[in-house]
Symmetry: C2
Subunit: 437 residues, 2 copies
C-alpha cells in the first residue's frame, strides 16, 4: 500500500467530510486499490472554527502556499468554491505540478477551458466528479462507462434544493414561498436561494454534462435557463391529475447536427424513472447508442455524498500517480464538431398550457384556432375545477391543454396571440413536457 | 490517435454487436480517448453464418490460436460463454500476455479466483463490465466511483428475462407459464429458460457484485438461490393491492461482521426506485457510507447494451496499454475479512404470507398464536377475495399476512407448524419483503 499526500484548500462542510471519511475509510481504500489518500495539509482562512473532525497538529494552515508549494503534496483538492480566487488557486496548483480535484461546477462551467488548457500544459489531471450529481458517479459513467456511445439525450434532475421544494409542494399542497421558507429553516435551501431556484446551479451542471457528451466545452452562454419560482401549486396539482410531476430539468439533446442545452421546469410522467426521483435526490437519464436508456440516481449534494465523489477522484489521481499515467483519461478532450447549440426558439417540445377563460364554449374554438394557425395541435383539453369558490358561467375557468410536438417559436407566438383574446383572463402559463423521462 | 488491435473469440450475437458498433463509433471513441479499438481477428467455429455485420477479408478464422498467438493482437475478448472451453482460452490469452475482456458471468462467479490469479501472474488486465447489468456501468461504479464507500447493501434486479416475465404477468393478468411461452416466442427467454427463471444467472451476478463489495471472491457455494417459477399471479395481484411489486432480487447485505448473499423473489414497494424497474430493464441499488443510496438502471442484456459495456472495457484496457499502466485497477483485489456468509436461516426479513384458511374467525387466532410463539409479529392481515366463485363460510379463504422483521429460521418453523393446522387448506406461500427498494 502506498500513501498519497493530499492537500485540501477550503475547510468548509465538504472539506470536513473528506477529512472525516478518509480517516474512517482510508485503510479500506488502501486495501482495495493500493493507494491510501492521507490529508497532509488543509488551508483555510478560518482555522479556528471547530469542524467536528479531528485534525493532527500542523495540518491546518491559513497559508495556501503551504499546499501549493509543498513538494510532498501530490494532489490538491479545491473546495473553496466560486469563480474568483478558486481559478487562480487551481492554475497555481497545476503550474506547481499538482493534479487537482475540484467540486466547483460554477468555475468549471465558466472557465473550464482555461483550466483544461493549463492541465494539458502541465501534463496533470483535473478531476471533478463532485461537480455534478453529488455522490453519483455520473462524470465517470459518461466519460468511461459509456465511452462507446453516441449520446442522444441527457435528462437530469440536478439540483436537490429545487427537487426538494417541488416534491414538498406536491406532498403538502403548499406554495413555493411556504416550502422555500421551510427548506431554509431545515437547511435544504440557502438564505439566498437564487443560484438554486433560478436554475443557475442546474445550468452549470448541464453545461458540464453537455460538454462531456458532445465534445465541446460549451460554457454558460448557450445554456437556456428558467428557474422554478413561477411554478405554482395549481400547475403541480393539474399535472398530477394528468399523470405528470413537475421537475426542474436539464435537457441536453442532439438534433441532427445541432445540440440543445436547456434548463427549465418540465412535466415528466409520474411513473417514469425521473418522475420517481423525489426529495433531495438527483437523477440523470442518459440515452445513447448502443446502450439505450440508462439512469443514475443518488444524493446530489451534502457533506457525505460529495465527499464520496471527491474521494473517488483522489483515488483516480492516486492510481495515475502510482502507475505513472497522468492524464490517462483527460480532464476534457474535444472530440466532436457540432454545428451549433440551438436557440430555444428552434427547439420542439410538447407543451402544457393553462388558460384562464371566460365564457367557455365559444372561447375554446378561438383558442384552438390560434394554436392551429401556428401548427400546434392539441393532445388533450381538460377543464379544471376553479380554484375560486362559486364558479359560474362568465367567471374564470382554468383549462389545461396538452399539445403534441410543436416549435417553441410557434408556441411563443401563440402565447402572445392567446393573451390578446378578450376571453383569456390572465397570461397563459406554459410548461414544457418531456415524455422520455 | 492510436489503434488498439482487438481479437474477438466467439462471433455470436454480442460479438457481432461489438464489431458493428466499433465500426460505427470507433473514430468517435478515438477522438474521445486517444485509443481506437479495431477488430483485427474474430475466431469462431462457425464462420459461415451471416451475422449481419461487415467483416474484412482475413479477419474471420476458425483457429483460436490466431488470436492467442498473434503478437499484434493487444487484447482478447472472450464471448463464447460457459464454464468449459472459455476458462482455458482466457488462461491461454493471459499466459500469452494478452489482457482479456469478458462478459462471462458464470465463469467469473465459478472460477474467478483462478482467472485473477493468472492475471496477476501475467501482470495483465481482466475486465468484465458486461458480466453484470448489461450496459449499466455498475462494475466500474462499484470498483471506482464508489471506491471510498463501505457497502451496506446492494439490491439488484439483474435478470431481464425474469423481470420481463414478472412485469407482463402483472400487466396482462397472466400466469407464469403463459408469459414464459410468449417471452420465448418474442425472443426474451431462451428455449431452455432454467438458467434465468430458476435464478442461477442472477446468482452468478450477485456473487460477482458481493465479491466486489466485500473483498472476497465468494464463488457460488454460499449464494442462496430461489427462482420465480413459484410466483403465481395471485401473489402478484395481492402484492399490488398492498402497494408492492414482486421482483427477482439479489440481496447483498452486511450485517455486523457477516454478509448475506441471496437471490429470491421479493416484494418491493411499487413506488420505490426498484419497484419502477420494469420489463427487460435491470436496476441496482447500492447503499454505502458515505454516499447513501445510489441507483444504476439500464438494459441488462441484449446485443447492443452488452456491446456498450464490452467497448468500455476495451477502452479501459487500451488506455492502460497506451499509458503503460496494466492493472492500474486490478481485476479483483481481496480487501476485507468478513467472518462468514450467513446461512439463509440466520437472516432476518419481513415476510409476505398467503394462507388458504377454512372457518376464518377461529383460525386466525390459531395462526397468530403459531407466529407469536416464534416471535413473528404481524404488520397487517388482509382477507382477500377468493379466486373461486361462490365463496362461503367453510370454504377456503385466502388471507395475506405481512409480518414485521423476523428470523428466517423462525419463519421456516412457523410454515411447518401452520401447515399442520387443520384449518390451513394448502401449504402456505411465503415471499420475503425488501422495503429498502
Amino acid at each position: 500500500m502506498r500513501d498519497l499526500n493530499v492537500g485540501i484548500i477550503g475547510f468548509g462542510t465538504v472539506g470536513a467530510g473528506v477529512v472525516d471519511w478518509l480517516a474512517k475509510s482510508g485503510d479500506l481504500i488502501g486495501r482495495r486499490t493500493g493507494v491510501r489518500p492521507r490529508v497532509k495539509r488543509i488551508a483555510d482562512l478560518d482555522i479556528a472554527t471547530d469542524r467536528g473532525v479531528q485534525v493532527e497538529e500542523g495540518v491546518l494552515t491559513t497559508d495556501v502556499k503551504q499546499v501549493i508549494n509543498d513538494p510532498e503534496i501530490e494532489v490538491a483538492v479545491e473546495l473553496i468554491g466560486g469563480t474568483g480566487a478558486a481559478l487562480d488557486l487551481i492554475l497555481d496548483c497545476l503550474e506547481a505540478g499538482k493534479p487537482v480535484v475540484t467540486a466547483n461546477k460554477a468555475l468549471l462551467a465558466e472557465h473550464g477551458d482555461r483550466i483544461f488548457e493549463a492541465a494539458a500544459a502541465a501534463d496533470r489531471d483535473v478531476f471533478y466528479e463532485a461537480s455534478v450529481g453529488g455522490g453519483i458517479p455520473i462524470i465517470k459513467a459518461m466519460r468511461e462507462g459509456l465511452v462507446g456511445n453516441r449520446v442522444n439525450s441527457v435528462l437530469g434532475i440536478l439540483n436537490g434544493t429545487c427537487n426538494y421544494i417541488l416534491t414538498r409542494m406536491q406532498a403538502e399542497q403548499a406554495s413555493f414561498e411556504q416550502v422555500l421558507a421551510e427548506a431554509q429553516r431545515a437547511g435544504y435551501a440557502e438564505a439566498d436561494p437564487g443560484v438554486d431556484v433560478d436554475g443557475l446551479d442546474t445550468a452549470h451542471k448541464a453545461s458540464i454534462v453537455a460538454s462531456l457528451a458532445y465534445g465541446e466545452w460549451f460554457g454558460m452562454e448557450p445554456v437556456y435557463v428558467e428557474g422554478i419560482r413561477g411554478v405554482s401549486l395549481q400547475e403541480i396539482t393539474y399535472a398530477e391529475k394528468l399523470g405528470y410531476r413537475i421537475k426542474l430539468l436539464a435537457v441536453i439533446r442532439q438534433e441532427e447536427k445541432d445540440v440543445q442545452i436547456r434548463v427549465h421546469p418540465a412535466l415528466v410522467p409520474a411513473d417514469s424513472m425521473l418522475g420517481n426521483v423525489q426529495g433531495v435526490f438527483n437523477g440523470v437519464l442518459v440515452n445513447g447508442d448502443p446502450v439505450g436508456d440508462t439512469m443514475y440516481y443518488g444524493q446530489g449534494a451534502g457533506r457525505d455524498a460529495t465527499a464520496s465523489a471527491v474521494i473517488a477522484d483522489l483515488v483516480d489521481v492516486g492510481l495515475n500517480v502510482v502507475s505513472g499515467s497522468p492524464r490517462r483519461v483527460a480532464a476534457f478532450r474535444p472530440h466532436e464538431g457540432y454545428d451549433k447549440v440551438l436557440d430555444i426558439g428552434d427547439i420542439s417540445s410538447r407543451y402544457y398550457l393553462r388558460l384562464q377563460l371566460y365564457n367557455l364554449p365559444g372561447v375554446l374554438a378561438q383558442v384552438a384556432g390560434v394554436l392551429g394557425e401556428l401548427d400546434i395541435s392539441l393532445a388533450s383539453v381538460t377543464q379544471q375545477e376553479s380554484e375560486e369558490a362559486g364558479e359560474a358561467r362568465g367567471e374564470e375557468v382554468p383549462v389545461v391543454i396538452l399539445t403534441h410536438q410543436a416549435k417553441e417559436k410557434d408556441m411563443q407566438a401563440a402565447l402572445v396571440k392567446l393573451q390578446e383574446l378578450e376571453a383569456v383572463a390572465k397570461p397563459p402559463v406554459m410548461i414544457r413536457i418531456e415524455d422520455a423521462g
